[in-house]
């Protein structure tokens, strides 16, 4: 998802007998759906895993601005431009809510940003794909934010209070993202033959990257057990992926577009759509840094940080000078 393949810091799920009294008390709170708050006692591994997951989630929001920012100056109408600007601004806000949640665990935002820029933390694989035509912007809002919503709705019930509260706030704004995206791609799908072709191309290219967002299959998610026991993760990758496919297939059909995968078929017995696995070797390759846009994304992020340094330092120096003058005057 926006956080994929988070390595859980743990030697494995402990049985109740193996836990210390403190750990048992902690697990009881989680089992009873009592939120863990910043100054409560928590196992070091719980803290470390959360910092990784929330940090990666925050990085994804911020890097996710880049593929959409690509189209702000080329939006087809002033209204679409204003909508896209508002959406991209929301993503910056989402990054901020999440960095704030990570900071309550004792990790500063600047430190997380440094780890990202040094390549020691990741962001979601989806943002390493390009946005080639205007229909892609519709598809990103509808499919990418749609997939994010499926994950984030589940995460509203996550055990860590500040993370859960950030998810609640983000979900409220996210449904604007999905709807404006679907609205934009509807215009394209129902437009001229060339526009319909672009809409089809967007769905064909973004479908598999979107379902990869949920991470590897459950059989290959070796880190999940402890995260599920701690309710850092609430639903499994495959469960969330199926939910996304089930809700999205009828939406593709409504647009009158061809399904991007010939194996998508309603399975009466399971009560779900069947679908093909994405090419997992592509997924792992993108995660390793070899997707179509990994290099550009990091170059743009680092440049934005470096180019903004004089502003950050200047404002801080000004604030310190004013504070010193105030003290002197008192």
């Amino acid at each position: 998802m926006y956080a994929q393949m988070i390595k859980t810091a743990s030697a494995g799920v402990k049985s109740r007998e193996e836990m210390t009294d403190q750990e048992r008390e902690f697990q009881d709170k989680i089992d009873n759906d009592i939120k863990i708050e910043p100054r409560d006692w928590m196992p070091d591994d719980y803290r470390r895993t959360l910092i990784r997951q929330i940090g990666q989630h925050a990085h994804s929001e911020v890097v996710g601005q880049l593929p959409e920012g690509n189209w702000i100056t080329r939006a087809p109408t002033l209204e679409r431009k204003a909508i896209l600007l508002a959406k991209v601004q929301d993503e910056a806000g989402h990054g901020l809510y999440l960095y704030s949640a990570a900071e309550t665990l004792g990790e500063s935002r600047d430190e997380l940003v440094r780890l990202l820029h040094e390549g020691r933390m990741k962001y979601s694989s989806i943002f390493n794909y390009p946005t080639l035509n205007w229909a892609d912007i519709g598809a990103v809002g509808w499919l990418v934010d749609g997939a994010a919503i499926v994950n984030q709705v589940a995460l509203q019930r996550t055990s860590y209070g500040p993370y859960s509260r950030a998810m609640i706030r983000i979900c409220k704004e996210e449904s604007f993202h999905a709807r404006q995206g679907y609205h934009a791609i509807m215009k394209m799908a129902f437009g001229t033959p060339e526009q319909t072709r672009q809409a089809q191309s967007a769905v064909d290219r973004l479908w598999f990257p979107a379902i990869m967002m949920f991470g590897p299959t459950d059989a290959d998610s070796t880190n999940s057990d402890q995260s599920m026991a701690w309710k850092i993760k609430v639903k499994s990758n495959d469960e969330l992926r199926q939910q996304f496919v089930d809700q999205t297939v009828p939406q593709i059909e409504y647009l009158g577009l061809d399904l991007p995968d010939p194996n998508i078929k309603w399975n009466e017995e399971r009560g779900h759509y069947d679908f093909s696995d994405p090419d997992w070797s592509e997924f792992f390759n993108v995660i390793k840094g070899n997707g179509p846009c990994n290099v550009d994304r990091m170059k743009d992020r680092v440049a934005a940080w470096d180019d903004g340094e004089w502003v950050r330092d200047g404002l801080l120096a000004h604030a310190q000078k004013k504070a010193a003058a105030k003290v002197a005057a008192e």
Binding site: W41, S108, D110, D313
Partner: protein, 94 residues
């Protein structure tokens, strides 16, 4: 990156005459910028009519370990609630 801006806690009063409520935090070099940033981050959809900002380091809080001694005593004092008292129906609403 030692020049990190300080952390501010943000409180917003909503539309309907309620108290200011904590909505989140952000970094800013000073109070003026904290208010500007809070306006951009936390009131993009008519969420508020007034903003307070407080630098996080100035907030004092109870410790999680004090939860029992501080808050449990009120659990046994049910007579502090109006529903503790049965008033005959003939008396009318009270």
């Amino acid at each position: 990156m030692k020049n990190e801006w300080p952390l501010w806690e943000i409180f917003i009063r909503g539309q309907h005459g309620m108290s200011h409520r904590h909505v989140g935090s952000l970094h800013a070099p000073d109070a003026e910028m904290a208010i500007k940033n809070a306006r951009d981050v936390y009131t993009r959809r008519n969420e508020g009519v007034s903003i307070w900002v407080v630098e996080a380091k100035h907030i004092s809080a109870t410790a999680p370990g004090d939860k029992g001694p501080l808050f449990e005593p009120s659990e046994s004092k049910i007579y502090r609630h109006p529903t503790f008292f049965d008033i005959p129906e003939e008396v009318g609403s009270m």
